[in-house]
Symmetry: C2
Subunit: 278 residues, 2 copies
């Protein structure tokens, strides 16, 4: 506290290197944040282009660093800092929710990997069945693969609100365009079978056409469903059957029926070209 400094300059500015040193953000990073408008230096020398930061910007830089540590995208942080305090809380909550979802996904992936690497489950049985045309209450939209799970929840909730359980003539189901898998986006349809004419919000009554299906039943959580898909696909390939149209799923036993994911049963039906007359 004893004096001894040259001069007390009220608005001493820091060069980019000094600012990098005190904030622990690299020079490259600071220039990037300037380009992105996330952290604009208080002064920029119009002649040399040198950036000069105010000590007052240090706390902002620290907040930015914290959010980047949490993998929040730079543009989102910029929006965050440009929002009033009320909005911020919501954005932070949203981001933490995303992190939680990512964590859950990782945990699931670990479990799925462990199950995959443990001894093989029994071979699946495949049956062929002609599915007749059905009247269903459905939501159908173009979706992206990464969004399917959340989209499903929303759509099914909407259907639930419209069609009471008593009126249903079977378990819920879904149809998924092949393009969803081959191109990462395509049409998805979820439905419950019901003899009812409905048109509310996204919910519509439609008639699913009759199809020839190769069917099997997946047992257990949906994280492993691709294994059954693969086994079914291998079966079809070995029998030289060709796929024809979107895959069908019927949720015979699902999360709404029991919390025990090992008890879940999902019927997977793949339309195949009819190769035998009648």
């Amino acid at each position: 506290m004893a004096g001894g400094c040259r001069l007390v300059v009220v608005t001493a500015l820091l060069s980019i290197g000094e600012f990098a040193t005190v904030t622990h953000l690299s020079v490259k990073t600071l220039r990037h944040y300037h380009d992105e408008g996330l952290l604009v230096p208080e002064q920029v020398d119009p002649h040399s282009g040198y950036r000069y930061y105010s000590p007052d910007q240090i706390p902002t830089a620290q907040v930015i660093r914290r959010f980047r540590d949490l993998d929040m995208p730079v543009r989102e942080i910029a929006r965050l800092l440009g929002t009033d305090v009320d909005g911020r809380a919501g954005m932070i909550t949203d981001h933490l929710a995303r992190l939680e979802r990512r964590l859950a996904a990782t945990t699931e992936a670990v479990g799925a990997l462990r199950r995959l690497l443990t001894p093989d489950p029994p071979r699946l049985e495949v049956v062929h069945r002609r599915e007749p045309a059905r009247r269903v209450v459905a939501v159908s939209e173009e979706v992206r693969r990464a969004d399917v799970l959340r989209w499903y929840s929303g759509a099914m909730a909407e259907i639930d609100a419209v069609v009471p359980r008593a009126l249903r003539t079977g378990p819920p189901g879904g149809q998924y365009d092949n393009a969803l898998f081959t191109h990462g986006a395509g049409r998805a349809t979820v439905f419950v079978p019901a003899d009812r004419d409905v048109a509310e919000g996204r919910v519509r009554s439609i008639t699913l056409p009759a199809r020839e299906l190769a069917l099997t039943v997946h047992r257990g959580p949906h994280d492993d469903i691709d294994v059954t898909y693969g086994a079914l696909g291998a079966h079809l390939a070995e029998h030289a059957l060709r796929l024809d149209g979107p895959v069908h799923e019927n949720y015979l036993v699902g999360p709404r029926d029991t919390a025990d994911s090992d008890a879940w049963r999902t019927e997977i039906g793949w339309p195949v070209f009819t190769t035998t007359p009648g």
Copy 2:
């Protein structure tokens, strides 16, 4: 099970689209994995370039999908699949450990953010002190910023093994090149003060030169240390002091002394140009 299929072809191959459909990997992804050598189609038509996959490759694709779900890099998966079973377990363990570290880092970041957004801690006190030259036992290397923490553990463990506690003349410390922060890589030195001549492995006795330091003490976990750095930096900027050389840290109370991270004390000293004679 009743017949009716056209023909049973023993080695029916799948086009890339069919393979994408049954494995839930996109066509783009499959082509990428082919380019990277991760999943090479069983046959490639030399004329048309069409890729054809065997049903036997479906399980491999599923394993790959699982590892990608866990964010394992493509090249690492390729190495994994090219390694014998013994090596695999180790690689998987390593990767899971990485995931765990990432999770821990996220948890810490959430805590650090929360602390940063809660009411301000009391202003820090900065004192100036002339640090005399010191004889220390040290490890000094060029490191990258992201590796500093792990490098520190290893280096300090090596020092611990060489210098018994009884011989030490003070708490452990470290020096970190400014380039570590400005450029993400630079020289780091960790040491314990001790009057001893040592040269074992990476451990060497060296003499730290005398320096004029602006000092403050950081209280609490190291995740928040950048806040104190920022405050110290702001202090220096406001007093128009210029930085001179690598920053010093002295671990007065650290994780080896108590598990209560709130009790930790880290002295941070920044060399400044001597501005007063004597």
